[in-house]
């Protein structure tokens, strides 16, 4: 531990830039992110890229070949975890309207972009970063098409600097298949949403209009439709927020009809009931919160905990996300949601994959991120113990593109400040 601290101090001085830097991370228990592990790994990093991964027990290395050698013996090395579909960085204090920047006026807002509203100085994001969640998909809310999300790093000098993937996709809030219900004081009959077909048609109409615009050679400019072009050219993903069976089936059909190249379903409560149909459609799922109560009275008590494993067993590509109450601050608990999924059926490495490589695949950033493999970016973290367990998730080192990132937050500062106060007394 002393040695590590020494190294960190040393690195802070030396590594203001990763350019040309050669770093060796040795003796850590490597969780690759793709299901593989290497109990004592030597990870070679040059210019921010992973250039070699070898078994540290069986391979000799020449210390002079490396600018920096970080020994993390007994610790665990993980690819950066990802919190997709989150308002992280777009909100600071839920109850204070002035700090909420994730929902604008209008039903079809594909042109509204989260990237530029992302607050790198948010106090919230640094508390998430320090638990090993290094990325977030800053996601807009509201309307039928909420807007365009971007994948952001949870630290940076400005939003440009923090951007991992600009404008990664648009978010479609699929209409509810059931409607009515009134409100608590006057419950009204719930039934099949009578406007469902109409609401679906509205979305179809918008996509048809956008598709036509995308193929139009004339130089009319439409701000809103311009933002849709990427969806048809495979440059932007289309994220469908849908949970109910009826919605999921219709989203599958919709994606076929409009040949959406990269569709994603977010939520997917009922996805476990669809089995092969979902797998065959090749639509991945960003699964609802694991730490959630069952939807219905007679749903199994632990169904929300079981859902990841149910999808895993059906061979569906999925990752975890955390949308819901207090989602921004709660993003730091994403590793523990994966941990709960592990307790309820996933293997440890599957659980890690569900918040790293799978997420990056679904977001389309897996070429560079999501696993610790040769050729990928050295964007990773080291934890004292199992990062999926609350007791042992202690992040000692965070690296983005081979560069060390400051690993503290204001909460820790306050802790130390008051700890000192009591020590003085």
């Amino acid at each position: 531990m002393k040695r590590l601290l020494f190294f960190i101090a040393f690195i802070m001085c030396v590594m203001s830039s990763s350019f040309g830097q050669k770093t060796l991370l040795i003796n850590g228990y490597l969780h690759v992110g793709n299901g593989d592990v290497m109990p004592t790994a030597a990870i070679g990093i040059i210019d921010g890229k992973i250039v070699s991964i070898k078994n540290a027990m069986t391979t000799r290395y020449e210390p002079s070949d490396w600018d920096t050698i970080i020994d993390v013996e007994g610790q665990h090395v993980y690819p950066g975890f990802v919190a997709p579909n989150s308002t992280l960085g777009l909100t600071e204090i839920d109850a204070v309207r002035a700090t909420r920047d994730f929902q604008d006026v209008g039903e079809f807002n594909p042109h509204v972009r989260t990237q530029i509203a992302y607050n790198v100085e948010s106090n919230v994001i640094e508390t998430v970063l320090t638990n090993g969640v290094l990325f977030a998909q800053a996601t807009p809310r509201g309307g039928i098409i909420s807007g365009t999300s971007s994948v952001m790093f949870l630290a940076g000098w400005n939003w440009e600097d923090a951007t991992i993937l600009k404008d990664d996709g648009i978010h479609v809030n699929w209409p509810p298949a059931t409607s009515g219900g009134g409100w608590w004081a006057e419950p009204a009959p719930k039934s099949i949403n009578k406007d469902y077909a109409n609401q679906k048609a509205t979305i179809e109409g918008f996509f048809e209009m956008s598709f036509a615009y995308a193929n139009n050679k004339e130089d009319d400019f439409d701000q809103r439709l311009e933002a849709m072009i990427g969806c048809f050219k495979g440059k932007k993903r289309v994220f469908f927020h849908a949970d109910e069976l009826q919605q999921l089936l219709d989203v599958i059909e919709f994606c076929e009809k409009y040949a959406i190249k990269y569709p994603v379903i977010i939520g997917g409560h009922d996805a476990y009931l669809l089995g092969a149909r979902l797998k065959d459609s090749h639509i991945p799922i960003m699964l609802e919160r694991v730490h959630k109560l069952p939807e219905f009275e007679d749903e199994p008590v632990d169904l929300p905990y079981q859902l990841p494993n149910l999808l895993q067993n059906q061979g569906v590509l999925f990752c975890l996300q955390n949308q819901g109450d207090m989602e921004a601050m709660n993003a730091r608990n994403l590793p523990f949601q994966a941990g709960t999924a592990m307790a309820y059926g996933l293997t440890e490495e599957q659980a890690i994959q569900a918040i790293s490589l799978s997420t990056c695949q679904i977001l389309g950033i897996d070429e560079k991120y999501g696993s610790i493999e040769i050729g990928k970016s050295a964007t990773l973290f080291v934890s004292q113990g199992n990062a999926l367990d609350m007791r042992t998730n202690k992040v000692n080192l965070i690296m983005r593109d081979g560069k060390l990132i400051e690993n503290t937050n204001f909460q820790e500062d306050l802790y130390l400040k008051y700890k000192k106060k009591y020590q003085k007394n």
Partner: protein
Amino acid sequence: MTRLFFLLAFFLIATGGFSQLIPSNGVADSKVVYYALHHVNVYVSSSEFIENATVLIKGDKIEKIGKLISLPQGCVEIDMEGQTIVPSFIELYTNIALPIPNSAGGFRPQLETANKGAYYWNESIHPEVDAANLFQIDAKANENLISMGFGFAVTHVQDGIVRGSGALISLGNENVNKQLISSHAGNFYSFSKGVSSQSYPSSQMGAIALLRQSLYDLSYYQSNKLNQDNSISMDSWARNLHGPSFFKVDEKWEILRANKISKEFGLDFIYIASGNEYANVHELKKILPKLIVPMNFPLAYDVQDPYLARQIPLSDLKHWELAPYNPKYLIDNGLTVALTSAGIESPKTFWKNIRKQVEVGLSVQQVLEALTEIPAKMIGKDGSMGSLQDGKLASFSVFDGNPFDAEVTLLESWQLGERRVLSSTQKNKLLGNFTLIIKGKKYELQVSGTNDKPTGKVYFTQEKMVKKKAVIDTISSDVTITINQADISMAFDFPNENKTGGFQLHGKIKREGQIIEGDALLPDGNWSEWAAIKKQKTETKVTEEKKQGNNTDESPKSWLPNLAFGRNAELQDFPLVIKNTTLWTNEAEGIMENATVVCFAGKIIIVSKNNVVIPPNAIVIDGKGMHLTSGIIDEHSHIAISKGVNEGGQTVTAEVSIADVVNPDDINIYRQLAGGVTAAQLLHGSANTIGGQSALIKLKWGSSPDEMIIPNAPKFIKCALGENVKQSNWGDFNTVRFPQTRMGVEQVFYDGFVRAEAYKKEWNTFLTSKKTENSITPRKDLELEVLCEILSGERKITCHSYVQSEINMLMKVADSMGFTVNTFTHILEGYKLADKMKEHGVGASTFSDWWAYKFEVNDAIPYNAALMNQQGLVVAINSDDAEMGRRLNQEAAKSVKYGGMSEIDAWKMVTLNPSKLLHLDDRMGSLRVGKDADLVLWSDNPLSINSIVQMTVVDGKILFSIEEDKILQTRNKLERARLTAMMLSQNKSSQENQKFKPKRNKHFHCNTIGEEGSELENSH
């Protein structure tokens, strides 16, 4: 002169002694003196049925009923052969002939009553509302009740908590003075605030407290009339108290709640039930209340679409099947049951549901009694109504058969001796095919629809020569048919003699519809006789499917509780042994490997590493490789609460108590058990400065509210500080109630406690002084009594708090008033002043890592618990959230990460420490001999992310286990399938069904306002 006198006497007799003289225009109305009804089958009372009897009526009373009775001369005699007389039913729960009150509320909170005048201070307490004053004849509503067989009703204004008095009326009379039999037939109460737009009360516990306070105010008013300001409300209430008291409940548990008030004030409530009392029968039979039970049984749900049907809670499906058994199950258990038609619109449905009662196993006598004699007794009128014994009021219904056996027609309704013919005795069975003959030509007439409203079609078939070939040609036309008793008129257009024209027929129905004959006006303008003769054989009766026999063994059973995962039967109490396991004792022994715990009669009797003697009949569990801990105690929970977690109507509501509204029917109880929680403090919310009293409960899934409440537990109350009490995040309308700043919060506390001190002094002076005739018993004030308990230390405060300034403030208030704050909950800035808290002697119950949801949690840090713990405070981790409450072990484990707490200390934060904060550590919180057998068996170290609850034990009973959970899941699935199949067959055979109405998420948080959980994001 003598003649005039005679007439006057006649009039008095005929009106049955109602001697109100109304000037009549011309000579006084003529009346029949005696009626004799012959050859009729009579239900004289529920227990006496006479066939082929004669009923002699004199004026408005029954003179005599019997097989052989001598008749006076000059009777009007009516032959009622084959007909059945049933005494008029008595409806006790209706608002017919009364206005429906409206709400005049606005957006802003209304803190004071809007009722001008010398009334009670709260709009929902209006004993002065007198149905008799407001009563106007409402012919249509009258008609509907009469058609069901009712003759009397007690009607009242169905609004508010103290609703006022009801009026007993006779139905079906056009003389309003005669119809009103008595003006104060009963007082009506409920827990529903009604149309009052006053902010208080906003919850059921508030309604309970308000009702109790107003009853205390009433007795104070009565005993100190001379020293009191006048109150019209109190005057009326005092005046009317002598009558029966009716209490309308919306839910089975409300009977138990109202029953406590009934005992406290010596009011013998008769409950107007909600219809799901069958699921509470084991509690009700302990107190044997009188009930007025509805028969508006739910319709089958529309379950054709499986996507939608799966959303219907299993408990709703079960209720659909069980509801018709409600009256029977209550009567079988010895309860006094009257039946009400409330909620039923059509007489047809009413009678269908009556016969359903006989089908499910009640006798006709029991059903009839519940509609007549029992309600009569309830209002003290069994001397004059409820049966037809000699001398009782001649109010009854005449049917053309026995209405308890099959669907029959109501022919006549007699009210107070006055006859009304509602339907002809003629039984027209018109449906079928007729040969219609008009002027020698034969037509075919098909009559379909119903016998009351038939429709018809007429056909004429003739041979026609088409291209020299004979072709059978049939033409047809629709027929409109109107029936007025035995008279029928029909009309249709038809080609006649190659001209189209109208046929208009009028005729008499004869031989019950076998023959119809009369005169027709033909298209050519001529009249002709016509006749229609029914064709035989055409009337093929569709034999009804054989009804399911009322085999009582197959009667549906309610679960405990009647929800998914409810048990089929109560659990037996067996000794329990868990052996070979790792114990987290929370005692000096620390963690014990390979040890055994033995429980007996709900207590831990052995904790040992040695071999132990296993008691006979014990359930023995091998805990090898597993970990056993004491149960998790959630210091801050809002599950299992009925109708409102906040009484937000006032700033100080110390008088309300969560213990009054504990709701065992919350699925989250089971879900928390599955997370290892065995006990919880159910706290009032944080909407006001001094909130309400807590309920300390054990999570006894399947028990009654009182069984869940921990006996002899210390008294607690919730207080709150900061943004919620100053309504910072409630929108711009909520800027009226004091306080709106932290400055004001301090003053609210001082005001409350200073008033409490004065109150105490007033009582002390009274109690210690010599009583004279002039000494006045002080007014009992429920709010101040509770504040006095706080001052004396008898009741402990759990205070919702965030920032250090306010925390410090409350400690100073407490210091200056001479008490100690017991617990700060949330306490997210506790780490900033843990030293001051230590000095004051207060404990802390906090979230592990919540923050960023509002401004006052900006400095919340997850190291809070560890820092406070380091300073020697008793620190607990709580949930305030039904979801997080079921993985408090994970939340505790976070302090190992944030602040480096030891695992044993972390574990104590959800077990031993909360038990200390609740002063229950003498019986919970650790594995020690003599403590309650509240245990959790974990698959792993309970703080590990991999740990899964295998079994949860409360008071020695296994209330959750992984194995049983699997069995219950399968059983739920089968039960849903069975009920869905029943509904599907009903969906097919009947047009009537209901769309599923979803229940909203009823998860309360600290700041949830109103009687139900909101779906708004919570802000704690």
